[in-house]
């Protein structure tokens, strides 16, 4: 299978100015500014085959967004070899632009005061789509993402979830070979997150495009991707199938229950009660011992539930577990 993305020993260093306090410090900074180097990405190598859906996960500040911006041609690497769709992003940004799509969860490519449909029209010109081809593609995506009414309203009037669906349509109009998604579900509620994940997975399959998704939400990688790259402090910690990562490092889920009863006790193997408050019970479930479905049905059998949520452990906890695993392996060797 051909490679969509190749990255060899990528290193990205930012030089940031050090600020000194006080007027004297500010004056000194004007005459002789002091700078220091921040290594955002350090010696990262991986390859992604065409059509693969890969999650690039790590805690905040891990270097995942920087890597993505290097791949998209926005930032230039300090050193290393980068090839995307057979092109060098730093040099061929113009040509690469026709072959990639990108969504940045915390930014918008849509014009806030105009309906998203107007941005779609503008993008059709930018990507030089023939009018007939554009209309057919737009109508197909509008149907698939269910934004028929939404895309006629000014973007500033849309909810974050609605806007994100429009952002995805905008990034897919020109049938990109590679789709970069930077935190596409950040700030969304549970339902909107699930919708976006389903849409990205389905569209990736249908169009056969390569998806590289950065996130610090493990749910994104589990629902959308088949392979995961874990990055921490600029270095690649792990590269393996999502299933393998889940079994090795995400063996637990957390369940929060709000019930009419002040106390809720469960008698199941693999369920541990975490510090809780009256009417609010926090449970940790070991998936190797018991399934979430069994725990949830027992909760409903024993209490009148007002609210219930099932969550993955935070990414920081998973990275800690990966570190511990890697250190253990090194010690064993």
């Amino acid at each position: 299978m051909s490679k969509a993305i190749e990255l060899e020993r990528l290193r990205k260093v930012f030089r940031v100015r050090e600020r000194t306090r006080g007027i004297a410090g500010a004056l000194r900074g004007l005459v002789a500014p002091r700078t220091r180097e921040v290594v955002a990405v350090d010696d990262v190598s991986f390859a992604i085959a065409a059509g693969e859906r890969v999650a690039f996960v790590g805690p905040n500040g891990a270097g995942k967004s920087t890597t993505l911006k290097v791949l998209a041609g926005i930032l230039r690497p300090t050193s290393g070899v980068v090839r995307v769709a057979g092109l060098e992003p730093g040099r061929d940004r113009g040509r690469l632009g026709y072959r990639i799509g990108a969504v940045f969860g915390q930014r918008s490519q849509l014009w806030m005061h105009l309906p998203a449909a107007d941005t779609f029209d503008l993008l059709a010109r930018i990507y030089e789509l023939a009018p007939g081809e554009y209309r057919a593609r737009r109508d197909e995506l509008v149907r698939a993402f269910e934004i028929g009414e939404i895309c006629e309203k000014p973007v500033r009037q849309l909810s974050l979830g609605e806007r994100m669906r429009c952002e995805l349509v905008a990034s897919l109009l020109h049938r990109p070979e590679i789709l970069f998604l930077d935190e596409p579900t950040i700030g969304l509620d549970v339902v909107a997150k699930a919708t976006i994940r389903d849409l990205v997975r389905e569209r990736g399959r249908r169009d056969g495009c390569t998806v590289l998704l950065t996130s610090h939400d493990t749910g994104d990688m589990e629902r959308v991707c088949e392979r995961v790259l874990v990055i921490h402090r600029g270095r690649l910690l792990l590269d393996r199938p999502v299933d393998a990562l889940r079994k090795s490092f995400i063996p637990r889920k957390r369940i929060s229950v709000v019930s009419e009863e002040a106390e809720l006790s469960l008698d199941l193997p693999g369920v541990r009660r975490l510090p809780s408050a009256p009417h609010r019970t926090e449970l940790e479930v070991d998936l190797r011992a018991v399934g979430v479905d069994r725990v949830v049905s027992q909760i409903f059998a024993r209490a009148r539930v007002l609210d219930l949520s099932v969550e993955d452990p935070p990414m920081e906890e998973i990275v800690t577990a990966i570190y511990a695993g890697a250190c253990g392996a090194e010690a064993g060797a």
Binding site: S65, K69, G73, I74, L75, G101, Q106, R107, L122
Partner: protein, 268 residues
């Protein structure tokens, strides 16, 4: 770029201009506000010149011509969108990332958006300025033929101002807060550009200094056409405009190349 690609590429940039014009149309209150501001400025200065007696300062030029002069200079100044703010905001927030993944030049697209917005403003503020000047002075300047020449010069003035604003905005890649540069540029436009008074009122040495800069192009050149019919002067100003546009485009190309190398983005 091949000859066949030229209309395609031009079409992309035109699309930016059209979209920006539509956006400005959606923000009608801004246009109304600017029209009202224009009326207030013209009213205040027409009263001042009535009291001061403008004819004493410039032989052959009366209060009516000076009000029309100000109407034309304010028309171009108020029609120029604050492009530097848009660029600075995108650099600060990191939104520039979204723009850079598209197969279109960032600075070119920004300039075309500003041109689209300015076109609508020029079309709305032009008639407003003329109506206010007519209402306040009771008639046209002594030789109204010059007003026709002011129209193309107003377009040149606005375009030069937009290019200057783009350069100020791009400085955000180095200094983050561009407002000090803007203030200096704005004050120089007021003084050396002759926003309120024709440069003919200035001492000779200051006139020479002003004409060595692009600032008179942005105000005085179109405004001067209210003081009398001067086709040679209009032609000279247009030629000067072409030179400054070339120089500013060169500067912008250099700045955007350097800016790309400096690019760091907020949030990774």
């Amino acid at each position: 770029m091949t000859a066949a690609r030229i209309p395609i590429v031009a079409g992309k940039y035109l699309a930016f201009a059209r979209a920006a014009a539509r956006r400005s149309l959606a923000e009608r209150t801004v246009l109304v506000g600017r029209s009202v501001f224009l009326g207030v400025i013209l009213f205040v200065f027409s009263r001042i010149w009535r009291v001061v007696g403008a004819s004493a300062a410039l032989p052959g030029i009366g209060e009516r011509e000076l009000v029309w002069y100000l109407a034309l200079t304010e028309w171009t100044v108020l029609s120029t969108p604050p492009l530097f703010l848009a660029i600075e905001a995108e650099v600060r927030s990191g939104d520039v990332a979204c723009r850079l993944v598209r197969p279109v030049g960032y600075v070119g697209a920004q300039i075309c958006e500003a041109v689209g917005e300015a076109s609508l403003r020029l079309a709305v503020l032009g008639p407003s300025a003329a109506l206010f000047a007519l209402a306040l002075t009771g008639g046209l300047p002594a030789d109204p033929r010059g007003l026709w020449l002011a129209l193309p010069l107003g377009l040149v003035a606005t375009f030069v101002a937009i290019l200057c604003m783009a350069a100020i905005g791009l400085s955000a890649f180095w200094i983050v807060d561009t407002s000090p540069f803007f203030w200096i540029w704005q004050k120089l436009t007021f003084v050396l550009g002759g926003l309120l008074f024709p440069l003919e009122l200035y001492p000779d040495w200051l006139q020479r200094v002003a004409h060595a800069t692009p600032f008179p192009l942005m105000c005085w050149a179109p405004g001067r056409m209210a003081l009398g019919f001067a086709p040679r002067q209009a032609l000279a100003s247009a030629a000067e405009g072409v030179i400054w546009v070339g120089l500013l485009i060169g500067l912008l190309a250099l700045m955007s190349r350097r800016a790309r190398a400096r690019l760091t983005l907020n949030g990774g």
